[in-house]
Amino acid sequence: MMLELIMLLLAGGVVAWQSERFNPNLPRWIAMATVILGMLLLLSTISGIPADTFNMVTEPSKAENWLLYSRHEWIPRFGISLELGMDGLSLLMLILTLALGAIAIVSSWNEIEFNPGLFQANLLWTLTGVIGVFLALDLFLFFLFWEVMLIPMYLLIAIWGHENRGYAAMKFFIFTQVSGLLMLLSIIVLAVQGAGDGDISFSYGDLLGSAPTGKAGMLTMLGFFLAFTVKLPGFPFHTWLPDAHTQAPTAGSVLLAGILLKTGAYGLLRFCIPLFPEASMQFAPIAMTLGTVGIIYGAVLAFAQSDFKRLVAYSSVSHMGFVLLGLYAWNSLALQGAIMQMVAHGVSTAALFMMAGALQHRLHTRDMNRMGGLWYNAPRMGACAMFFAVASLGLPGMGNFVAEFLVLAGLFAVSPWMTAAAAIGLITAAIYSLWLMQKTFQGKPDEERKLQDFDRREMGAMVIMMAALLWLGLYPQPVFDLTQPVLEGLQPLIVNVPETLAGNIPGGTP
């Protein structure tokens, strides 16, 4: 199924691209159909998996414990194979990817006039790469998808972006490329030295527990860490993000914020920490400090922006700091919180970018100084914006709150001071979120302004995302149940957790 899903999206892209010759409206329908088909394929496959399999602890090194697993020889000379595996975590990420993929297509429904076929193709190819990243178990294959994801995204920004798109696209490309190169070096080092005198293998299962120790281990780990933190993005490697987000077309921003950033978090959780348990735990205080600084730094800068999309971009930097904190705190609460943050932030930020795109499409500006009082002109948009603004500031009842609460609760057992510092982010988030509402929808309205309120298509997308956030906020258990076996498989890999990390948090014993 996994290969089929990847091929489906790849092929869908080609068809969408070529269909433009017949009718410029055809590509978006084909893209939509492809994503829906993909979702159906995924759902029909998982409905065929016996229910109790979902409760089995995924021991990463054992093929039979994955929900889905497939392996085909590719380059046997170097131990490279087409090895794909899906567990609860990958499944969750796939659902998020396909759902937000559909949202991205909806959000750019009427926006693209230039080469719509190639646009939709790039969109689908980005999804292809992302799905590959979430499924690949062979590190060489993983790297391939990591790069595949990058190029269509680069094109989306460079071709269909806004006024300063060239700069933003190049910055995005260089940051990701350079850090990706470091990861490639680390992958090769790991594969070669992990082999010892046996055969070289790039397989995740084989490489677990084979990391070099000491300084070499730390350096190799840093290669992975950099690649993933740039993508996350973590402070201070985040500076590509505000530019890329601001310049990307709406669908590009939705994909970037909603899904691409999550590949960084996924990489840390799946590869970086489990492959290098020792180095990661040594490095944890630094990573957590970067997370905390990112939370506050992002929030402070978000408040200073006058560009709607830039503000939301910095809020992403802030929110992803919680993911970094949660991952390196490495106990059940914090890890589940980090995963929840990946999902909830994906949805809430995608919605805010869709809002930004809708406003830009209608008002031809992202400058909030030229907005104000829009609630008067478009109350439906105002209500939606208010919902996602308060979701973003972590209102209980929405997924973002569950995520941030669990991360901080888990972190408290590890480091109360770090928790206190990170909790300042709860205040700063309120400051920028409410300021966003003030500058756009509140204040003195221009009663002459013509502003088309959300139509059915847009309202539909918004309502789905609102429902998702409320569901995640009030009954998040299905998500936790899905990922719990994965975490139970991963957590024992870290054996040398320092005493403080073990903590006395309930269920936090690693």
Binding site: L301, G373, P379, P396, A409, F412, A423, Q438, I505, P506
Partner: protein, 611 residues
């Protein structure tokens, strides 16, 4: 599913309906649903209270497990004891009257649908807050009422000043909420649960009275309480929150939400009893707040701001009660305050409504004969606020002062401070009555309140008078207070002080025997009055300390300082690029020369290394 779950569900459903209508619902239907849903909840609460008074059975209801991660499994579950019943009765009872009043007050507003949506959401969140069986669900209600308060303070969004007031309310309380969240993390980490009753049992078995951990945990919870209940030092948001419609001020910023902090401390009293230093801090915070707010109220001109400072001051009394361990008295005062302060706000709203949105008390006057029902309401409300004998406020405030007196060491000091506060309360309350309702008329009312406004006013009048006779079912909730004998002199002084205040207010503002103008003739006195008028310049202090620096730092950093590193790398690359570019100049001679030089160097190196 039984009636307990229906109580918060009615307003929630109503809000959902109103949202789904997207503002297109006719206003009479919107108003009926909006007020009716709260009325239905009130009926359910009344039925529940009747059963509870009959058998005293604590009710528990679990709807579903919210989440389950490791051993942390908070539920969406309710725990209904006497304390919850009192709170629910106040919320739905007073809430319903205020909703009814709102129909008339907001009738001409174009966004009445949005108004009732927010109000219903607020009631639902507030009910969750007081019904929650665990601190996480309580926190959901806690933040929920915060957002509704934000939405309602900024209800008239077209004026940016309202938006600023709304943001201030949310952000200042959020500072307290963050402290509270840290408190929850601490409790969860140390005690392993957030379910309130098991948590207090665990705390009692794990901690000794006076240990550092309970002190820290309760101090953090106190942070949340101080923010929400507008106590020092986080009280500055409440006077500004008066920017919202007046019924909102009555419901949220007088009767219910602002007392959530009092409820929180009372609800987790088991923790606070383990932390005597925090308890003492609660008492001193309450005392300082009630005095500072009392002095400030004396100098205000805006009818709503006077009432706002008075609210801050009265919640100070509740904190004082909690701090001296008289939890039941604190809750008693919470209830009577809800009656008379809602009454005062609604009466003030009626004045404002009938006087073309006039807020300045010095442009009112002589309304006693022109708005008789409003005058009656205001007079009874003020009497109860000032704790004149036999009003509801008298019983509750007297109980607090006597409990304070009975405390060892600091007791008499707290009592004396509270007494001074009572004097101030009485003076500013009757200053308001005398200036607004007596003397010559300065603005003529253009209408009279209809039955939807007058009805709630009269009912609240009744409650403000007889509310002190209710026996609250709190016996099973808090540990029994020690019987203390109080000497009669203390009791008489407590009774006499408000009367003295009334007399002073009469002499200053009606009789004219004492002239305020003469009192503030000297520059020192004027400075003092301005100081009080500004709310002790605390807002200016926070501006200098926090707001301006945050804005400045944020502004300086707006263009991404971290990018300087990457721009530096780019610049270094470009510099090297330009240096190296010189080598590639297209001249054959130059290439030949460099090749020869390179060859010679290479040979030299090889020769040197040759054995």
């Amino acid at each position: 599913m039984n009636t307990i779950a229906l109580i918060p569900l009615f307003p929630l459903l109503s809000a959902t309906l109103l949202i789904m209508s997207a503002g297109r619902m006719p206003r009479h239907i919107a108003a009926t649903i909006g007020a009716g849903s709260v009325g239905l909840s009130a009926i359910c609460v009344a039925l529940l209270a009747r059963d509870f008074l009959a058998d005293g059975q604590v009710l528990e209801l679990t709807l579903w497990t919210w989440m389950s991660v490791g051993d942390f499994a908070p539920r969406i579950a309710f725990y209904i004891d006497g304390l919850s019943i009192v709170m629910m009765s106040v919320i739905t009872g007073v809430g319903f009257l205020i909703h009814l009043y709102s129909i008339e007050f907001m009738w001409e507003d174009e966004s009445i649908c949005r108004y009732f949506t927010y109000m219903n959401l607020f009631v639902a969140a507030m009910l969750l807050l007081v019904m929650a069986d665990n601190l996480l669900l309580l926190y959901l209600g806690w933040e929920g009422v915060g957002v509704c308060s934000y939405l309602l303070v900024g209800f008239w969004y077209k004026d940016s000043a309202n938006g600023a007031a709304a943001r201030k309310a949310f952000i200042v309380t959020r500072i307290g909420d963050t402290a509270m969240a840290l408190g929850l993390f601490l409790l969860l980490t140390e005690l392993g649960t957030l379910d309130i009753q098991p948590m207090m049992i665990a705390a009692n078995s794990q901690w000794q009275t006076g240990d550092a951990l309970p002190v820290l945990a309760t101090a953090l919870l106190l942070g949340g309480a101080v923010g929400k209940s507008a106590q020092l030092p986080l009280h500055t948001w409440l006077p500004d929150a008066m920017a919202g419609p007046t019924p909102v001020s009555a419901l949220i910023h007088a009767a219910t939400m602002v007392t959530a902090g009092v409820y929180l401390i009372a609800r987790t009293y088991g923790l606070f009893l383990l932390a005597p230093p925090t308890m003492e801090a609660v008492a001193w915070i309450g005392l300082a707040t009630l005095l500072i707010a009392g002095f400030t109220a004396l100098a205000q001109n805006d009818i709503k701001r006077i009432l706002a400072y008075s609210t801050i001051s009265q919640i100070g009394y509740m904190f004082l009660a909690l701090g001296v361990g008289a939890f039941a008295s604190g809750i008693f005062h919470l209830m009577t305050h809800a009656f008379f302060k809602a009454l005062l706000f609604l009466a003030a709203g009626a004045v404002i409504h009938c006087l073309h949105h006039e807020h300045n008390i010095f442009r009112m006057g002589g309304l006693r004969t022109r708005l008789p029902i409003v005058f009656l309401s205001f007079f009874i409300g003020s009497a109860a606020l000032a704790a004149l004998p036999f009003t509801s406020g008298f019983y509750s405030k007297d109980a607090i002062l006597l409990s304070a007196w009975a405390l060892e060491d600091i007791g008499p000091w707290l009592w004396a401070g509270g007494l001074l506060g009572a004097l101030l309360t009485s003076i500013y309350s009757f200053r308001l009555v005398f200036i607004v309702f007596f003397g010559e008329a300065k603005t003529e009312p253009d209408r009279q309140p209809g039955w939807k406004m007058a009805g709630p006013l009269l009912l609240l009048c009744l409650l403000s008078l007889v509310g002190g006779w209710f026996a609250l079912p709190l016996a099973g909730v808090f540990p029994a207070a020690a019987e203390h004998t109080v000497n009669h002199a203390v009791e008489w002084i407590s009774i006499g002080t408000p009367l003295l205040g009334l007399l002073l207010a009469y002499l200053m503002f009606l009789g004219g025997q004492l002239s305020v103008d003469k009192m503030v003739a000297s520059s020192g006195a004027r400075a003092l009055r301005d100081f009080w008028f500004s709310g002790w310049r605390i807002d200016q202090l926070y501006d200098v300390l926090w707001v301006t620096p945050y804005k400045k730092i944020s502004y300086w950093m707006r263009n991404e300082p971290v990018d300087a590193i990457y721009n530096g790398i780019v610049a270094a690359n470009q510099w090297a690029h330009h240096r190296l570019l010189v080598l590639q100049n297209g001249e054959l001679r130059w290439y030949a020369t460099t090749m020869v030089v390179g060859l010679i160097l290479l040979l030299a190196v090889m020769l040197r290394n040759a054995p």
